[in-house]
């Protein structure tokens, strides 16, 4: 009986040890996998997804910025178009010669129309004209430029008055008078000498503004 009892109890003990060992060893594998591989990977995945969310938010902001920049560019184009319309009566210049040929030609035609003659001392000069290049070019604060022209003439006061009036209301050009000197006829006649300095406003290179 003793041998029987000992044998039975020894078998169970060894069996239980084997079961517990199997339980321990068996659970070690999934638990090890869970904490050793899965958890760190899950942490990495969550971090990556958070980063992705942040990047998507940044992308939304960047898209909004892109729209804003597009708006700025469209504003620039629209204002440049309006500027182009506004500058239609501004003259095309020849910066090297400091001349505005078309405006000068228009003023010469106007001078002829209103009987403005050359001053006596210039009548013998070769190529002398009532309207000539002033040799100066000024720049306004925001880049607008104007070219100087001189008008020296002998004329009746009323003729010169009509010339000035018509010059100031020309639709093709914007001409700003700077100074006028009128010397009365020293012989007591009606032919006076007029010396006038005007500036003709030049057309800008609109495409180059702010670039």
């Amino acid at each position: 009986m003793a041998a029987k009892g000992t044998g039975s109890s020894g078998d169970w003990t060894a069996g239980i040890v084997a079961i517990v060992a199997a339980l321990l060893l068996g659970s070690a594998l999934p638990i090890g996998l869970y904490f050793g591989l899965y958890k760190p990977k899950e942490k990495q995945r969550i971090e990556a997804q958070n980063k992705l969310e942040q990047l998507k938010t940044d992308m939304q902001l960047m898209i909004a910025r892109s729209d804003r920049v597009r708006g700025l560019e469209e504003d620039g184009v629209a204002v440049a178009e309006r500027l182009k319309e506004l500058e239609v009566p501004f003259a095309v210049s020849d910066p090297e010669k400091m001349d505005v040929p078309e405006a000068r030609a228009a003023l010469l035609r106007l001078a002829e129309k209103h009987h403005l003659g050359l001053r006596p001392e210039r009548q013998q000069q070769l190529g002398a004209e009532v309207v000539f290049i002033g040799g100066d070019r000024i720049e306004f604060e925001k880049g607008l430029k104007a070219t100087k022209l001189m008008i020296e003439a002998q004329a009746y006061y009323h003729d010169f008055g009509r010339f000035v009036s018509e010059m100031e209301s020309l639709e093709q050009f914007v001409i700003i008078p700077e100074s006028l000197l009128c010397k009365g006829d020293t012989n007591g006649g009606t032919d006076h000498v007029f010396i006038m300095v005007v500036y003709v406003v030049e057309r800008r290179d609109i495409d180059a503004i702010g670039r």
Partner: protein
């Protein structure tokens, strides 16, 4: 009897071993299943992480490209827009707010004292460079020139007036017509007449009948504001 017990014991022992073996195998089988399940979770996480990383790389590249593009475009667009707006305002100002001389020339023709013959032998309209600052050279000089061009004007005119009567009445009349010179009032301010009575010329020696008196007219406003069309 002894043999029978031995056989029974062997059977029991075999059964115990079977139970133990089955238990161990079941435990190991379940552990294996569990390990496979954890492995599949790990695999899913790996795949998700790879997808997320790919997406991150794509979005980051897009963001970097957009940022470098906008970093160049935005300041340029802002500068361009601001510059064309400034240019537009300057053009509008130059077109609308420029001085016109024809109103002054017209005033000189139209306004005379009714009781005296009146004529000019010199008229000078010039820019007021004091208000515009010094005219130097280079960009500053050009800017000062432009400021002077759009700035105030001064007028100085001189001539003779043929007075037949009282100097005082003539002076009063001159002050009255000065106030009527609208073009001058707008462009150069109210003109002031000065008679140089001491330099008068008396033809025929009868100063009560008629005399020529030199006069000067000056006007210069400090602030130019155009009412031009």
């Amino acid at each position: 009897m002894f043999e029978l017990n031995l056989i029974k014991d062997k059977a029991k022992a075999r059964q115990r071993r079977r139970v133990i073996f089955l238990s161990v195998v079941s435990i190991l089988f379940l552990a294996g299943l569990l390990a496979i399940f954890v492995g599949s979770l790990f695999w899913k996480e790996t795949t998700d992480l790879k997808t997320a990383n790919n997406e991150i790389a794509t979005v980051e590249k897009k963001l970097t490209d957009m940022k470098s593009d906008l970093d160049v475009r935005e300041p340029a667009a802002r500068k361009r827009r601001n510059s064309v707006i400034e240019a537009w305002y300057e053009d509008v100002s130059v077109r609308q707010d420029r001085p016109y001389f024809s109103p002054i020339i017209k005033d000189l023709v139209e306004h005379h004292p009714s009781t005296a013959r009146f004529w000019y032998n010199s008229v000078s309209i010039s820019t007021n460079t004091e208000g515009a600052g010094p005219r130097g050279t280079g960009a500053e000089g050009a800017a000062a020139s432009a400021k002077a061009l759009m700035g105030t004007r001064g007028l100085e005119a001189g001539g003779y007036i043929q007075i037949e009567g009282s100097d005082i009445l003539t002076e009063v009349e001159l002050r009255t017509i000065a106030k009527q010179m609208d073009g001058m009032l707008k462009l150069v301010g109210e003109p002031k007449f000065t008679l140089d009575v001491s330099a008068e010329v008396v033809p025929g020696g009868d100063s009560e009948a008629s005399r020529y008196v030199p006069f000067t007219m000056r006007a210069a406003q400090t602030q130019f504001t155009s009412n031009a069309p």
